[in-house]
Amino acid sequence: MTKRRILRFLTFIAVVLIIAAAFYCFSQEPSNAVSHTDFAMDTYVTETLYGTDSSISFEYIKTLDALLSAYGENSEIFKLNTQGNATLSENTVSIVTQALKYTADTDGYFDATLFPITSLWKIGTENAVVPTDEQIQEAMGFVGVANFSLDENEIVANENCGLDLGGVAKGFACDKVKEIYEANEDITGAVLSFGSSILLYGKPDNKDEFSVALRNPDNAHLSLGTLRLNECFVSTSGGYERNSILDGKKYSHIFDPKTGYPCESEYLSVTIVSFSGALGDALSTAVYVGGHKALGLIPEDCSYIIVDKEKKIHISKSFPGRFSLTDTDYEVIYE
């Protein structure tokens, strides 16, 4: 083989290696996001982190769950609901204080004192039943903020009364996990999703904003559009996610505190974008239950995206992000 042929052969090899290396780099995942999934707070939680590859929130969320669950036998809320009094830890005092405030502030559309009702129906569990009207009316007599007194970390409930913090616990967990993220300099961005409650933290990799798909309530496979959002909390209430079918009828897990029956909302879904997860959770429930009459409860620094039954998407003018409609069967109304 002549020198010239050797040189040509090496040149060909070099060309192939350079191009292969270029395409290898090109084919790599551009983001450093790492996702973890675990079961907590009676649902699946997915945490996606940018900047670090180890899950840091699940153990904390499980600790919160152990304190706040209405049915966990070692929880502080379980003790309150069964014994009528309890000594609360700092986190439980914080969420109970918020939950009772939101109950008082939302004209009865969100109610954290519905434990006598939720424990009667047991919607979403294998023990779900349709109670009699008499049972519901009797249970409604034990609902209301006035049945509870909280003095620093000591709480007392009247007989047969109890708290169900399921309407704010996931949002509260998002609030607390955000504090953990803020204390960890390695985390440049994160998405913590309980499904109905989501924390968008910092920035995603290689983008200035988070891209969030707005699910079609009629078909989970389809998107209605894309939300572009910066750091915030996103809470959604919809009767289609957790329910029970009893005697051929579907019952939502969201209750109307004024009647004690599962809510039959005028909306398909209500999404609140806020700067507090617990508040966002309470507001999304309140507006889902109260419908248009409850829109006035939403403060100026929060915004809503509501999907109604007439294929209209209502977005408040205060919405801090951008929305791009992809399903042209729907109409967007800014109000």
């Binding site: 040509r8 040149t11 191009i19 395409f23 699946y44 998405v191 969030v212 707005l214 496979h221 329910n243």
Partner: protein
């Protein structure tokens, strides 16, 4: 001494190599896609499947469930639970989207590079 290192046919060969590399690179990029679905029982990951190949399958640890991958999406076709919320959820295909069966504590999560960071609603 004045003979050139490359003649005309060499440039044709180099062009062919570049073209073949591009095709190979695109093919590798497609086949190495991270579009997968992970199936959890409680906290335990019990299966991880590609969304690029249509299939219908069962998973050890998810008794009574039948899963179906079709057109880069996944759904729960059969479930032993009563309320069938997981079946009625339909197919999912976007990044970090989930199908959840709470009674049986089964979760299907997609990991798809479609630009979405989360799904709400």
């Amino acid at each position: 001494m004045n003979r050139k290192l490359f003649c005309g046919s060499d440039f044709v060969i180099i062009a062919c190599i570049i073209l073949a590399s591009v095709v190979l690179g695109v093919f590798m990029r497609g086949s190495d896609s991270a579009d997968i679905a992970q199936i959890y029982k409680g906290s335990e990951l019990i299966a991880s499947v590609s969304l690029n190949e249509n299939s219908e399958f069962t998973v050890e640890g998810a008794d009574g469930f039948v899963f179906c991958v079709e057109n880069n999406s996944i759904c729960v076709k059969t479930s032993p639970c009563e309320n069938k919320i997981c079946v009625n959820t339909g197919c999912i295909s976007r990044g970090n989207e989930t199908i959840v069966c709470l009674p049986e504590r089964i979760c299907v999560r997609t990991s798809v590079n479609d630009g979405f960071d989360a799904v709400v609603g």
